[in-house]
Symmetry: D3
Subunit: 162 residues, 6 copies
């Protein structure tokens, strides 16, 4: 197993500046970061897994050390399949902490060699959440400062259709 | 913009003694308090926006410094439309805190001149939540000590129909 | 009312090692522990109330001081009907704490003689939650270390049908 | 060991209405409640252990089911010496929760048959802390609504000497 | 009593960019903000109350709507003496929240007409604390981005003497 | 700078099984882990920095990938001097989280290329704290299950002298 690969899983519906911040800082530590879109979160999602992967790819396309992927089934199984051992996660707040704690403990229990490492989200991104961004965007609020430009355009397109 | 007006937004489904406590204490600080019922929270709600507005109006009718209104769309847009700059919110507990923190930061980012001010809910109301009151009421529990009399009657009527 | 009876309510969908830990430790303190499955939590549940009761019964069948039951309606009404006064609950984490705090205060307000007593979940069970176990199990992950054997088998059966 | 005895330990410097609330509600559940003043907390304390015991005794003197005592050394050793198995503690807030969680786990690890049971402090007492009451009292603030009358008098006497 | 005056109390040892942010945003809401340095926090402080007042005055000197003052004794007594009714406080995080909650409830109980209003600290200041800044400064770390220039110079002077 | 080195700083007074757990799991991710004892935490400490370093060395002596060191001054300066960029920290609970969050943000602000990565402490160690272990040990409680054998002996020696 390769400890220089970090899997960064999430639903990324949509990918925010906070997610991008974690990817960029993760690349300073790990040789490769795989952004892994969770497929089981598709129901009730705004963007399809394909759309989400495309948006993320646009953002990281220049860096050969980032890979965008999707996974189905158990996260730990995916991590093992990728021959990685590190799951990378951002922590914003206390509510995050508790859920992430449970998840990390359970993943470690299911597959002992998989470790979850956490980074604190940058202060300027600490209040961002994909769901709030969707809510604000749906109500025609300007979210351009919270998401990368391509995501902003995609959100505008989505809600223009309504 | 008028800094003596406070907008008190919420779904108020239904309005509890805890909400009333915030309105009353808010009136000690601000010249006008506008209780603003969020329309987008109508789905899955027990009372319609109209019913909720009527119940709140009954409770504050005597005070010309309180206004009951409803709003659609982004809260900050509504605040600006009302020429106000203060959003008033009650804080009960830590889980509240985190969500409210995110919301306040995002609203401030979207519209810089809008500020959210928080009051700690009175100890006797700190454990009240509209959803728990609905749950207890639905199961024929007595909620008369948690809500104003008119809300109590409205709840009884709603669940008698079942 | 009998203060030596503790009602241990929950949805137990499914019953985990964490729940079993609370029952066993509760029996060291109380003369009788009634595991009370909440019927209103049936919608969206994986196991029916009947199935859940059967699984719990298998686990505690040897101990005449444990009783497995189901209840409908308000928990405090059920507690009074059973002539008990103690509700027993496990606390895992801070998010638990706040919800449980609200619930305990409200139950005490609705029926003053009913008290909720909390036990801290054992460290080895502190990260277990029924919903995560269902999620992992559904994705064919091995949850045998988190639930009693009979629950493990029942989970495998459920998801084999998919 | 007797499971009908609850040890209620603390520094009680001074004993507040919140502590009294826990003792009274504890008596509804347990046959005997031993209020156990921790001696090791004497340094930097306002009242001596003797003074604290005397004040508590005045408050519970009528009830033969309450005993006031002091303990030195490990709490679990004291609990075992008293042939009890239950430690009773009040929980006010999240910060309490974490410290109490650590303490309860450690006590259980050191002595497996000792269990800590928690009660949520009543809403009207949830914001009381002995240290804040001392602070307010020292600055000549009126704390008569937060502590029993005899404690109020003792505080006034203490700070009159300054 | 004048509801257009907000008292902003603290030890401000030293005054940080986070404190300045609250004062500036407070001025958007209130007609007058009184920055009130707590005298009882002098022991173990780095700067004397006089030094702290001087530093704050330098920062707000241009604005006639800000006043810098010091207070001794109970905060609520000071608020009443100033004929104000609003205490303004910044909230950074959950630990803040609980302490502030206790303080606000107790102040409201001691003096009912005094209300505490909270603002969420701006994201870029949410991790700042006076004690950490002192610690970093003492170890010759650069804190110029966390405090106003005059405070930075004062810190350098203080620790140069060591 | 070398991203394969992780600095694991702390006061380690004393080193517990929880600390050892983080070191061991850290070695699965990083090529080298430097356990760095903070010198400024010496006052009020039970063990001198030298004693602490000796105890930790005994535990990790077999592994050439672990180094035990001490540092004075700012942590980030030490990290840079070691040509590392990763600070490794364990997270046990919510109170940890907030303090660590502040620290990590401040360290990142002071020196942008330094990142703090967090691991969740294993459930069996989540309630361990050096200060509680000292407290229990001082009161002659058995802490052998919470610390490595050499630390246990050192604690017994320390408190036998009393």
């Amino acid at each position: 197993m390769n400890r220089h690969i970090a899997i960064y899983p999430g639903s990324f519906d949509p990918f925010t500046n906070g997610h991008l911040d974690i990817v960029q800082r993760g690349l300073e530590i790990f040789e490769k970061v795989i952004v892994a879109v969770a497929c089981n979160s598709e129901k009730n999602s705004l963007f399809s897994v394909k759309e989400r992967m495309k948006l993320i790819s646009e953002l990281v396309t220049d860096n050969p050390r980032v890979q965008v992927d999707a996974f189905d089934g158990l996260l730990v199984d995916y991590v093992v399949k990728k021959e990685a051992r590190v799951i990378l996660r951002g922590l914003r707040a206390v509510t995050d902490f508790e859920f992430e704690f449970q998840l990390a403990q359970m993943n470690h229990a299911v597959c002992e060699q998989v470790e979850t490492l956490f980074m604190m989200t940058s202060p300027s991104c600490a209040y961002l959440s994909s769901s709030m961004i969707k809510e604000v965007s749906k109500l025609k609020g300007d979210v351009s400062q919270f998401v990368p430009p391509c995501v902003h355009q995609a959100l505008q397109k989505k809600f223009a259709r309504d």
